[in-house]
Point group: none
Chain length 411, copies 2
């Protein structure tokens, strides 16, 4: 089934609004095994809207979002009516509904604002809008369904779910079934290599790879006409191949997975952060319920704070530098001995843009993880990129390193 | 100038990723007085990519984002090369650059991953990627510039700013001139009301409002044919009207502005964070050079840590709760007396999803800011929304509150 989306609105192309409607529609359809063929975003301009309608003219379903309001820059309704050669007529029932929705506010509106939104193209089916004024519209021409939906998400989302889906579902023949796996602590190309060597020719399974916050998302999909067991077997094989790198559902991030393991084992973790500046603590406390396993963090950005709070000897920093494995060892020592958690994470690095030296250029980062006296791993990394990206990669590397050690210990 | 964007990636159409790249590109171009004619989003599929290229074939500039990675579903490079009839050749310099970027990790990669990303279409100009492996590419055919950029924002954004803009700027004939102002610490509707009452009929100046991380961006634009002084006068009038709520350029965030003031006045600030979990420290240390004015933070998520590190009396928390103005006062007392900074920020709140009570529902947050014994402000807020959004609003509210107090003291 060829389903396409057209989003209409200047604000989407000037960067004033991020298009979350596309992600909402794509996600809802994917849950039903339907996929979008394309999306086009055009400004509030008749010629541009017509170009987009032309591009979609042979699809099965065309969903047109936005531009249904009462102001002169809302051009979707008359342009679609013109394109499909369906005259607009004022629908008194629609007008009454809008008036009822507005209640007392109706009196304050110019009456043509009401009239404009009450125009319905010949033969259109009206979808009532319970959260705004502009109704949705459905038109049929040939084999194509043309669907007009309002742009504000609080109007679009309930109308999509309550009015549009019941219309489209009987027509929809789910083409695809899909599973998304989240992998942490491996580079994208290594993930792909292992996926491919594990699945071999993959029996008609379509693969897609995507990076999100340093985790790799692998989507496996196949036509519904294939045997469902194919997909199940593929997921099982990948679970075996990736081991602890595969974040088990319902968790989607390494921090969520780490939190679940800590909660299950009754362990606590604290962080001692220099270059990440609280970023690891912030990532860990993004996880609901983190208070069960995360008592707190010491952000020791200044060297004096490393000494005062963690007991890092000034001499260690003078001799080896604040960014050194020796300093991170001392940070871990101080963290675990003074603050009594089971596990600790420590970081020190040069995030830039200044502060680099020939021996320790910007991007040099030391990450340490430890479980009291049981085990410890302290490693130096060299990350490329800008300040933001170096800090973000340090944080995700630290969480992945702790996760890997925890899961290795178990084996 | 007809500029179009093509975004390539299954994840954009399945709802797995919200397309923030389009908003970034639209915003950067709008700042330069350029506008986007359309955007098309297509899956990782050769036919769909070619349909999109066809749709854009008569534009002046076509920006194609994503699908440049090393995996087999990354089809943008070969498909564009085929469409423009430019054979792909392995470029040894590109290969060396990718190898240098990867450093020690290069050895762990399958060699074809390196080779694929080193392919360059005949006649293409290469834009180096300092934050990832895939380089950007620029091709000319007829009057059209075809530009290929990587999809991950941390690679796209610096390449767009540093490599692509210098190429396009000499070609661009700006139709619009525009100024963007950043306002902090005021709700959007109050910002809009004050802008409109200050500018009156606005003399042909077009206004747009946008919220970004709790700051309001106000964009003033006018046709280049208008008198330049109009825009200058409008900006001057708004500076007077908004006072310290207007973040002065070149700063774009309240944290950057705060950092500049602290550096100028020779002051230091530390944070004592509960519900924000290090988020304020992370926002402050996002600012380059933060070490000059930010020595560190105490993330006291557990009540025991509030007592151990900040000396908050257990009785205060037992009597008034950990989320109370009394506890935040005690956190500030401990922070300033023990850690000797000039200024302090403290937070405690219920970010949810659980932990709310009828008296203190989820979203109840206490924020305190203080300058040793000179002044102090501790306030309770009620934020709506989910955990993420409550935490982010608490962090930006805390920074704005400190900024407002610092700038008020000066007056």
């Amino acid at each position: 089934m060829d389903i396409r989306v057209i989003c209409v609105g200047d604000e989407l192309l000037t960067g004033d609004t991020v298009n979350t409607n596309l992600a909402f529609i794509g996600d809802r359809l994917a849950q039903l095994g339907l996929s979008l063929q394309s999306e086009i975003c055009v400004p509030d301009d008749e010629c541009c809207i017509i170009d987009a309608l032309d591009f979609c003219a042979y699809a099965d379903v065309v969903i047109i979002v936005g531009g249904l309001g009462p102001t002169v820059d809302d051009l979707t309704r008359p342009t679609v009516a013109k394109f499909l050669d369906r005259p607009l007529r004022l629908d008194p029932t629609v007008r009454d509904n809008i008036r009822a929705y507005l209640g007392a506010r109706a009196a304050t509106l110019p009456s043509d604002a009401l009239d404009i939104q009450s125009q319905v193209p010949d033969g259109a089916q009206v979808m009532p809008n319970r959260n705004g004024t502009a109704p949705g519209l459905i038109l049929r021409r040939g084999n194509t369904l043309w669907v007009l939906l309002p742009g504000p998400p609080r109007e679009l989302i309930p109308m999509f779910n309550q009015e549009f889906l019941p219309v489209i579902l009987p027509l929809a023949r789910a083409d695809w079934e899909a599973v998304t796996l989240h992998i942490c602590g491996m580079p994208e190309s290594a993930v792909e290599k292992l996926v491919r060597s594990t699945l071999g020719d993959a029996n008609g399974i379509h693969l897609a790879f995507c990076i999100k916050n340093d985790n790799i998302m692998v989507r496996l999909s196949q036509l519904c006409s294939c045997r469902h067991e194919n997909l199940e077997q593929a997921v099982k094989a990948l679970r075996n191949a990736f081991g602890y790198h595969l974040i088990p559902p319902p968790h989607q991030t390494a921090a969520e997975y780490l939190g679940a393991i800590l909660a299950e084992r009754g362990l606590t973790v604290a962080t001692a952060e220099s270059c990440t500046g609280g970023g690891i603590a912030a990532a860990l406390t993004d996880v609901p319920g983190a208070s069960a396993w995360f008592p707190g963090a010491l952000v020791t950005y200044a060297n004096e704070w490393k000494t005062q709070l963690l007991g890092v000897p000034k001499q260690t920093m003078d001799t080896h530098g604040a960014v050194s494995e020796q300093t991170v060892h001392a940070m871990l020592d101080g963290l675990l001995s003074t603050y009594h958690t089971d596990l600790g994470i420590a970081t020190s690095g040069i995030a830039g843009p200044s502060g680099g030296t020939p021996a320790k250029p910007v991007g040099t980062v030391v990450v340490g993880v430890a479980a009291n006296k049981a085990w410890r791993e302290v490693k130096t990394f060299h990350f490329n990129g800008l300040r933001d990206s170096i800090r973000a990669r340090t944080a995700s590397t630290a969480i992945n390193l702790l996760l890997a050690n925890l899961l290795n210990q178990q084996e």
